[in-house]
Amino acid sequence: MITGERKDLEELMEVVKDFKSLAVVGCDGCVGIYQIGGLKEAESLASLLKMGDKIKNGVVQDTEAFTVIRQCDKELIEKELGGKLDRFEAILSTACGVGVQTMAAVFSDKPVFPALNTMFMGAQDREGAELYELCSGCGDCVLHLTGGICPITRCAKGLLNGPCGGAVDGKCEVGGYTNDCAWVLIYKKLKSLNRLDLYETFRPPRDRRPSIGPRKLQGGAKY
């Protein structure tokens, strides 16, 4: 799923302070599920911007929270929010950058601002609440060669022929030896699958074009 974290309240206050009324719009998709930008979060942000917190007073007189099943879908936005936002001077979206841009395209006459810093595609794939970046949408997936562990994303250098010399006791030099070295994970996984042949195969340089943006896709899948 797409993840992110809310911008500091102070920064958001600075962005919206010149408006008298503000719609704060959540998304029930990825950010809603991870409780980063769903309806609940939109509601609490709307109230913070109106009432302020312990340190700062509120900056917007009139705020109200809404949500959309998926803010990355124009039709859904129109269906669920059509007409409801007319009275607001501006919109603050707690969706990912895709949602914010889709909202801005639908409400082309209003300023639409991001409430989140969108971070990455990832999941809570291990215990605890932490989210881990797992895929960077490189356009040329190699997971079939690497035991289902992405070296492009989970190796700090995105290496195709790791591990590098920076792996110590299975930990990566980036992040102070706290993160697992993706290539040691790949080695262990392929070994357990009895597929070290994949591990020991040299991978020539990558054609980077599939990952070079801005990218677009024809609709519909090749099935």
């Binding site: 250098k157 995105g158 591990y199 020991e200 040299f202 980077r208």
Partner: protein, 299 residues
């Protein structure tokens, strides 16, 4: 490479251009190693520090000191276009050896906010060099006018755990065309021996990396801050004791003696009982130890 092919046990040295435009000291260091080392590596932004170009330093050292260089080239800072262009430049400047390195991550250095590149990794850099040298073409197969001639080496890490993953990775680099291996620093001779045994099947010359300790400060820093390798406790303790000698000359003499005692036997044993092709002596700013060590080791 010629020396290695002739079966001689060789020594290589290490030179580190820093944040300067003045290469006088580096050239002087190289001169001191003439006749003892067959070549010197010239480091490329080690630990991702923004230093003087290793290509320029290699050229100047070869020109002014007459010392053959192993031009180190990292993938951290250059994409495949820049690597190709630097390699063409290196060919024009008479560089004969390249050590292909992935390189430390940019966040570890003194420009931690720089954009990391890693368009290629060390194995892929070997692949590019082989294409240029053997086929006379670039990465995309376009012909190079007057293609360069290099020997290409890679780094190996005998301290890696699990070692098997490292050996298989080196196999990949050798498959890509690496001609020699210089290892990271080893203190434990058993680690070196195990690694050399594992590497025998590839029949690629291996130079074992050692790090003579210039003074206690260096030893202590290395032990604390270089991950994955530790200075043996006894050696560290002896260095510490030596550091308490107040007379500078006597202190340095003692440091030298400790290094010669430790590495003399180490190098002798490597040279006489293993398949290693030589020793890579990483004695940056401590050149005086290298000739003495070679003598002590009775090669």
């Amino acid at each position: 490479m010629r020396n290695i092919k002739e079966g001689k046990f060789v020594f290589t040295g290490e030179l580190e251009p820093e944040k300067t435009t003045d290469l006088t000291e580096l050239v002087e260091s190289a001169k001191k190693l003439l006749g003892h080392c067959v070549a010197c590596n010239v480091t490329d932004n080690p630990q991702s520090m923004a230093y003087m170009s290793s290509l320029v330093a290699s050229y100047v050292v070869q020109r002014d000191a007459g010392m053959e260089c192993v031009y180190q080239l990292r993938c951290s800072d250059r994409n495949s276009i820049a690597l190709t262009s630097d390699l063409l430049g290196a060919g024009a400047l008479g560089i004969k050896n390249v050590l292909a390195l992935t390189g430390d991550h940019t966040t570890l250095g003194d420009y931690p906010g720089a954009k990391p590149v890693f368009d290629l990794d060390s194995g892929q850099l070997v692949y590019l060099i082989r294409k240029m040298v053997d086929e006379g073409v670039d990465l995309y197969g376009r012909p190079i006018h007057n293609p360069p001639k290099f020997h290409v080496g890679v780094a190996g890490n005998p301290n890696a755990d699990p070692l098997e993953s490292e050996i298989l990775k080196l196999k990949r680099k050798i498959d890509a065309g690496a001609e020699f291996i210089q290892t990271q620093v080893i203190f434990d001779i058993e680690v070196a021996k195990t690694f050399l045994k594992e590497m025998e099947r590839f029949k690629v010359p291996v130079l074992i990396g050692i790090f003579p300790l210039k003074n206690y400060g260096t030893a202590d820093y290395f032990d604390k801050y270089i991950p994955g390798v530790h200075v043996p406790k006894d050696l560290l303790a002896e260095m510490k004791k030596a550091s308490e000698i107040s007379d500078k000359e006597k202190r340095n003499e003692r440091y030298d003696e400790i290094n010669l005692e430790y590495y003399g036997d180490f190098v002798h044993e490597i040279a006489h009982t293993t398949s290693a092709a030589g020793i890579h002596v990483m004695a940056v700013a401590y050149e005086r130890i290298t000739p003495a060590l070679i003598e002590r080791a009775k090669i």
